[in-house]
Amino acid sequence: MGSGVSIDDQERKILKERARTLAVVPPTALGDGELIRALRFSLGAETYAVESKHIREVFPLPPLTPLPCVPPFVRGIINVRGRIVSIIDLKSILGLPDTELSPSCSVIILQSKGNEFGLLADEISGLSAIPISSIQPSLPTLTEVRAEFLWGVTAEGLVLLDAGKLLSDRKLVIDETVGSTA
């Protein structure tokens, strides 16, 4: 009889131990837990992604009005429900080959407190959840300009853009008077 009780105790002990082991979340299962959500899109033959928290909205490219007297990376302006938003061509910034606008082009509106513009995307592919730990620093072979706006590359080869950097870089804000640049 006495041994029966002691076995129960032992069992309880083992069970508790097992429960404790099970309660611990394996540290590597989800790549250290923290995930970011990012929108995947294509630029020519390459696929890029941009973190969704900087995105205000995404829609098919409406009629685009080109502007004179702007650097080539500014493709023009569009009308978004009564507001004018400028469109930036990442291909020009990243040094990718230029392509014609097509009906499948979309606009990704990025927004921060002090800035807002649309990115031209050839095609939208979808949303991904990316573990922050899986993001590697960008490849050393990239040119300086390209590396500047890249956050990193995922294990799957997805190139993640640094939207915060794009939005805050003063180089991308056009503030010119006649005679200041010429």
Binding site: T65, I84, I88, V173, T177, S180
Partner: protein
């Protein structure tokens, strides 16, 4: 963000609005008390209101846990409670401290000062030291909240400007519904005409067309009245803009050692808040200009037989049903045309001969020239010679106009005409190389077809005779850098031109065609396109097309710039190509990074130093084109650095820009003595300001 912290930040946002209201009432009250012109009865009402406002703000500050404001309010409450009891105004010398207290409250509200602040303690000490001030009592007896004054509940709701703006945008979109319906009705009528034969089909179509036409009419009316209503809701009395002026005039006059009275008439006129926001900076600039250049020192005024105290007055008047005219006049010395002409000649804008031949009206216009300043020193206040140009540009950007009249010895009058609302803007639609643009009608002198035989070559440039004068003729597409389209062979015998008139100068622009004139609504180009060359904004046409609006004064500048650089390609351009090197001396890391990035973004090569000693060491070793220096720095301050630089042969002529938080007249003078070329106060410091000054010096 957690729900709690989200709530807290919303609460703080609300508090900001509330605090600003209390502060404004207190400020207005203080200014009135300090003037001391109203009767005893009025004084006691004002004292009472300041007391109540301080009390209410104290409570609100406690709710959001901003103890600095709470303590300041408590002290003010105590002071004005004493005033109430003794029935007299606060001591004269206390006013400066009270103003400082209000300033501090604003800073604390915006979180621009850290909570335990030395200045706060200083001000509190001074407030407590106020004569006749009773010691602070821990909790003053309950007072009724200030809102329950004898004024009846006003029928207003508080709505954020952003919310109202977005409602307006939504309403504006309805315009396209209105236009689409009109087009639909027109299409049906056209169909109806085409099917004159087929009986019943025709009947059906007829009734549909009638209904569509009627509906379109109704929709149109509703949309228009909704827009008008919302436009009115966006209007504010002009007085809301003028709240900051009494204080500014007072401070500036004190700083310049002058006595100035500020008068306003007609401030009840309502105007679109967006226009008001755009007009604020230019108006501030012109008022500052009047005080620092117009009004003479008390001694000088007495010598000329004028009252010691000068007057700057602003009259706001509604004109033409859709415009407001602001007349800003001062009874100062007027514009010294001789000095203006001398400065213009010195800067190479005109020759001695031209200057002598210039009539007074044209000479006065010289004050708008960029880079012309009659002050020996570049300061941030005025006399940078840039302010008036920028002020005029900003006024023109909202469809307004600026003009100036001056009577030597008796004063200067600036007139600003601005539209009541941004919507009232007429533009001419033109096409150039396949692209459509809008040109503000206000700047269009005339439109006509020019014949090839009319074109003459003057100094190798095309021009056409207009009213007996040779007017330069350029192609709009060339000025804008548009790609040529194949059919433009240049073989036509005649083509349309549009002649623009900006500040008395005419230039004819060759275009493809004129599409018409219509009302356009100016929209900004978004935050990424802060300012563009030649383009001031955009508008959305009925069909939904986005069309850029051209900036006439930019276009004229572009034309003259192109003309100047055309003959010798490697003139001033090649000088630009070699990167200019700038040394930045600044002890604050934030300011240092900011200066560096601003200068680098403009293409300069920047080296930094953390104090005067390090800066001077760099200057000895390396070559620089310009030095930007802070004043307050450890080891060697900016003044000392200036003197050192001037005393060292290699750097004796180096241009120096002092950037500092010290903004007083003595500091500026000390800066001149030390040998600085320009002086920019950090408070008014912005990117274009710094770059303009730097570019003028190198």
């Amino acid at each position: 963000m957690s729900r709690e912290s989200e709530f807290l930040s919303r609460l703080k946002e609300t508090f900001k609005g509330e605090a600003e209201e209390h502060r404004t009432v207190m400020l207005t009250g203080l200014l009135e008390l300090e003037k001391g012109e109203s009767g005893e009865q009025r004084d006691s009402a004002v004292i009472e209101s300041i007391f109540r406002e301080a009390h209410s703000l104290k409570g609100a500050a406690r709710a959001v846990d901003i103890t600095g404001i709470e303590r300041l309010c408590q002290s003010m409450e105590a002071i004005f409670s004493a005033c109430k009891q003794q029935q007299k105004r606060p001591e004269k010398k206390l006013f400066n401290v009270l103003y400082r207290a209000l300033d501090l409250m604003a800073e604390l509200t915006n979180g621009t000062v850290p909570a335990p602040d030395k200045e706060l303690e200083d001000v509190l000490k001074l407030l407590h030291a106020g004569p006749g001030t009773p010691p602070i009592v821990e909790d003053t007896p309950t007072v009724a909240p200030s809102r329950s004054a004898p004024v009846a509940m006003s029928e207003t709701v508080r709505i954020s400007a952003a919310r109202l703006g977005s409602i307006f945008l939504r309403a504006e979109e309805l315009l396209s519904v209105k236009q689409a319906m009109a087009r639909c009705a027109a299409d049906l009528r056209e169909l109806q005409a085409l099917t004159a034969k087929a009986g019943s089909f025709k009947q059906k179509l007829e009734s549909m067309a009638t209904v569509a036409a009627l509906e379109s009419l109704h929709a149109g009316e509703r949309v228009d009245s909704l827009l008008t209503e919302i436009r009115t809701a966006l209007m504010l009395p002009f007085s809301t803009l003028l709240e900051l002026f009494p204080r500014m005039v007072r401070d500036l006059a004190a700083e310049e050692g002058k006595e100035v009275t500020w008068e306003v008439r007609g401030e009840d006129a309502h105007i679109d808040r967006r226009v008001m926001e755009e007009i604020k900076d230019p108006l501030i600039h012109i008022v500052r200009n009047s005080i620092s250049h117009g009004i003479e020192t008390p001694g000088e005024r007495e010598k000329r037989g004028k009252p010691r105290t000068g007057t700057v007055s602003l009259q706001v008047e509604r004109v033409d049903n859709d415009k407001v005219e602001l007349t800003l006049s001062d009874d100062g010395a007027g514009v010294d045309l001789v000095q203006v002409k001398t400065a213009a000649v010195a800067k190479g804008f005109l020759t001695d001969l031209d200057a002598a031949a210039l009539n007074d009206r044209d000479a006065l216009r010289l004050i708008y020239l960029s880079g012309l300043s009659t002050s020996p020193m570049i300061t941030d206040i005025s006399g940078r010679g840039l302010g008036l140009v920028i002020a005029r540009e900003k006024i023109e950007a909202v469809g307004g106009q600026l003009s100036v009249e001056s009577k030597p010895g008796t004063g200067t009058i600036f007139r600003i005409q601005i539209p009541l609302s941004l919507a009232t803007f007429r533009g001419v639609l033109v096409r150039s190389r396949g692209q459509t643009f809008v040109i503000p009608t206000a700047n269009v002198d005339q439109v006509f077809r020019v014949d090839r035989s009319m074109v003459v070559l003057v100094e190798n440039r095309q021009s056409i005779p207009i009213g007996g004068q040779a007017v330069s003729l350029v192609n709009l597409g060339d000025v804008l850098g548009l790609k040529t389209v194949p059919q433009e062979a240049g073989g036509e015998e005649s083509w349309p031109v549009i002649v623009l008139l900006v500040l008395g100068t005419r230039i004819a622009f060759g275009i493809d065609e004129v599409l018409g004139e219509q009302e356009v609504l100016v929209k900004t180009l978004g935050k990424q396109l802060a300012r563009l060359r030649n383009i001031s904004g955009a508008t959305v046409l009925a069909a939904g097309d986005v069309v850029p609006i051209l900036n006439p004064s930019d276009l004229l500048k572009s034309v003259s710039l192109a003309a100047a650089s055309a003959p010798g390609e490697d003139g001033p351009e090649s000088k630009e190509a070699t990167t200019r090197k700038i040394l930045v001396a600044e002890d604050s890391v934030t300011s240092r990074m900011l200066l560096k990035s601003i200068l680098e973004s403009a293409g300069f090569q920047v080296t930094t130093a953390v104090d005067g000693v390090e800066a001077f060491a760099s200057l000895r070793v390396d070559e620089f084109d310009l030095l930007v220096s802070d004043i307050d720095m450890p080891r060697m301050n900016g003044f000392a650095l200036c003197e050192k630089v001037r005393g060292f042969a290699k750097t004796a002529d180096l241009p120096i820009v002092l950037v500092t938080s010290l903004g007083s007249r003595e500091d500026r003078e000390k800066g001149i003595d030390a040998g600085a070329n320009a002086y920019i106060a950090k408070s008014s410091f912005d990117r274009s300001n710094l770059l303009e000054v730097v570019k003028r010096l190198i």
